[in-house]
């Protein structure tokens, strides 16, 4: 996915086990919790607030995620190592997938 020229934020933590990219909404409580979970567990990750970018770009990202993972796109949507994904924030699922 080409994220060049988009306001992707990079967070640097001490855990670099995975490549984590989180698509989120700046207005959403569960998205905020998901990012706080990654921070609390010292993961390095990137995130993009898709509600703060142009609609056509956002829709292209959603379409690509939907086609790639065969899932409806809800937020937060985390892509891990370009192959696994997590949709929504259920802490137990994030712990399990990220082996926390």
């Amino acid at each position: 996915m080409n994220l060049q020229n988009l306001p992707v934020v990079t967070k640097q933590g001490t855990r670099n086990d995975y490549s984590i990219m989180v698509y989120a909404l700046s207005t959403c409580g569960f998205c905020k919790r998901a990012l706080a979970f990654l921070d609390a567990n010292n993961f390095s990750y990137r995130y993009l607030y898709v509600d703060l970018i142009p609609v056509d770009v956002k829709n292209a990202i959603k379409q690509e995620l939907k086609e790639r993972f065969k899932e409806n796109v809800a937020f937060p949507f985390a892509v891990i190592d370009d192959k696994k994904y997590l949709i929504g924030f259920i802490e137990a699922d994030w712990r399990s997938t990220l082996q926390v």
């Binding site: 909404l25 700046s26 207005t27 959403c28 409580g29 569960f30 998205c31 905020k32 919790r33 898709v50 509600d51 609609v55 956002k58 959603k62 409806n72 796109v73 809800a74 937020f75 949709i87 929504g88 924030f89 259920i90 802490e91």
Partner: protein, 111 residues
């Protein structure tokens, strides 16, 4: 803009909805603050209180079902104890001391 909503107006809106429906607002202050600020931002962006945890199209006719309180809030609160974004909770859910978690978005159930 003159018609923008303030945080106070948005808080009042959520209080009125909760009161009318017999629901409680999320007692987790940090979570509630994020949602109410998100609701306010959505109103000031789109002109309506669009659900803060869903992605808006920015067109009223498409976004209408997810304008707060969304059309799925009642079945979600009945089934899961809270609405999709966990702004509104049932009294039973709060009394049991449960914590909201992400639930399926019924919007996708409509074929």
């Amino acid at each position: 803009m003159m018609n923008d909503k303030t945080l106070e107006q948005t808080i009042l809106f959520t209080q009125m909805v909760a009161h009318k429906q017999g629901w409680l607002l999320n007692p987790d202050k940090d979570f509630y603050d994020t949602l109410v600020e998100g609701l306010m931002q959505n109103y000031n962006r789109y002109g309506y209180f669009f659900c803060p945890c869903r992605d808006a199209e920015g067109r009223y006719e498409l976004d209408k079902p997810a304008i707060c309180p969304c059309i799925w809030s009642k079945p979600d609160i009945a089934e899961f104890g809270h609405c999709y974004c966990a702004l509104y909770l049932s009294r039973e859910f709060v009394a049991a001391g449960k914590t909201p978690r992400a639930i399926p978005d019924r919007r996708f159930e409509q074929a």
